[in-house]
Amino acid sequence: MGSEARRDAMTVFWQILIDGFAISSLYALGATGFALIFGVSGVLNLSHGSLMVAAVVAAWAAGDSLHAGPYMGAAVGVAVGFSLSLLTYFVVVNPLQRTRKIREEEKEIFILTATLLWGIMIQQLIAYFYTDNAKTVAPIVQGVVAIAGVRTPSNEIFTAIVCGLAIALLWLLVNRTRAGKAVLAASMNPRGITLLGVELSHVYVAVWAIYGVLVGVAGVLLGMFLGISSYSAGPLTASAFSIVVLGGLGSVPGALVAAYVVGYLETITAYLISPAYRTIPALLLLILVMYVRPRGLLGRR
């Protein structure tokens, strides 16, 4: 009886490790985008969740109405995420950043409110055309594999790999390319970079474009792995927001670390305590951090 109990415990351990990793990677991708936009553009984009949902629904619709294969559907989803992100910048965020009718100190509040409204509008439009039923995207990878004796859907591994690739690419872009370094510099000192002759507006557009791709990929992966509905928009934004605050507003590495902390906390809770209380420990951690160390785990300011 002893060895069976140990075998069960080992199984649960591997299950937690694998499942937690997949979920955390997904959180990480979404949160990274959110942190990037805040770090560089200074905008807390409350339509984040809606953009992800839009990407998923587009991918699903491509599969459903146009009978596109899973690759085509994914491409459509990412393209929609990309376009909506740029649209958000040009229609909602940029006009408010440039307007003279609002005082500088109040602009942040207005942009928050405007992105919130914009997010809800997108959510309503999606619900209108496609109802609020949950949608899943046909997975690119199917079937199961056994890892350390644990039966794992191949899709989960695929998700983790793609998230990792996307984040690695982002890191390469920011640290190794000239354009990326401009983005990094802009996040630290927007005025300074204009002195170097870089068009700040170009940097912003680039960042929103990258953000759009991240959001599109994260959304499509989420749709393949877990499924999504127009109701998810709010919780997705709240989740990204919480992770980014936990990690430290403006710190992309912080968001990454926080994503894994939250992902594993939730998974461990679901396995070992109860699935009904899944979200509570992460919420409590957030409150604790805000009280004790408001600048987050790796925050700069």
């Binding site: 207005f110 409110t113 919130l116 409204l117 507003l249 805000m290 408001p294």
Partner: protein, 307 residues
């Protein structure tokens, strides 16, 4: 040149007096619509006090409202005390909730404050769904008592409650306390340097906002005869309150009522369009935010922006 407080109050009083005669010819349906708009007007005014003046964006006004409404409703369900007692209890609970929220929340700045208020709403929502045997869960709570069955009575109560709340909140905003709040909101460092206890004033604003939110929420429960997450707590309800205040004009208090009436009237007028109605209403709100950030009230009064 700002319009004097007295003049605005007088105009407001006139409007309220006229509105009091509406039940003579309007149908129960219109009265019901306006009752909801008036209560939401109070929610929005309470929010504006905190945001427009204290400068704190509260993403979870529904935390205070929900605490008030559910306390009143649950109390009535459990023990059936007189309604005024339930309402008083609900208001007191909301004030306590406001204090509990204010203390940690005011220690943090800007976006963190917004997040704290949002987290508060999510936790309340979680608690209500999990403790379904007490709160009715996601299905909601029905209360055995209501204030009145008569449309006219309910309408007049809502109207005059809104009028009195508005008068108090507005006078507060124009009073020395209000000016200090405004200063704290716009430049806390300078206000502190001038010798004002910024934190104490902000907590006061929180408590006042909580008082009116809780009171209005409790009254609303006893008008509707039920409470549910979807009517009192959901983030979309909070968004409607924020939009009402911003549409009406931030930092005007009275504008919030205009915004609230507009929002509800528009939703009803666009009802035949189905789900698209919400999209259009929020779209309008977005346009106002982008192009007319001073809201309706700002458009009308066109005060010169204080530099």
């Amino acid at each position: 040149m700002q319009i004097s407080t007295a003049r605005l109050l007088l105009i407001g009083l006139g409007a309220v007096a006229v509105a009091s005669f509406l039940p003579l010819w309007a149908s129960g349906y219109v009265l019901g619509l306006l009752i909801l708009a008036y209560y939401f007007g109070v929610f929005a005014m309470a929010w504006d006090l905190l945001f427009g003046f204290a400068g704190e964006v509260n993403f979870g006004p529904t935390f205070l409202i929900g605490v008030g409404a559910y306390t009143a409703g649950i109390l009535d369900n459990l023990y059936q005390p007189p309604i005024w007692l339930c309402i008083a209890a609900g208001t007191a609970a909301a004030v306590a909730g406001g204090l509990v929220l204010a203390l940690p929340a005011l220690r943090v700045r800007g976006p963190y404050f917004g997040l704290t208020t949002l987290v508060a709403v999510l936790m309340l929502q979680n608690f209500i769904v999990v403790d379904a045997h007490l709160t009715g869960g996601e299905i909601g709570l029905t209360v055995p008592d209501v204030i009145s069955i008569s449309d006219t009575t309910n309408y007049l109560i809502a109207l005059w409650f809104m009028a009195i709340s508005g008068a108090i909140l507005f006078s507060l905003s124009r009073s020395p306390v209000g000016l200090i709040l405004q200063a704290s909101g716009q430049d806390a460092v300078q206000a502190g340097a001038l010798g004002f206890n910024v934190t104490k004033h902000k907590i006061t604003a929180f408590v006042i906002s909580a008082f009116f939110s809780g009171l209005a929420g409790s009254l609303l429960v006893f008008y509707l005869g039920s409470a549910s997450v979807g009517t009192f707590i959901d983030v979309t309800v909070g968004v409607q309150i924020i939009i009402s205040a911003v549409l009406g004009g931030r930092r005007t208090i009275l504008g919030a009522v205009l915004g609230s009436i507009f929002l509800i009237a528009m939703s009803e007028a666009l009802r035949p369009l189905g789900d698209l109605a919400n999209f259009i209403v929020f779209g309008m709100a977005l346009i106002v935010v982008l192009l007319y950030p001073n809201g309706f009230f700002g458009l009308l009064t066109r005060t010169r922006e204080d530099a």
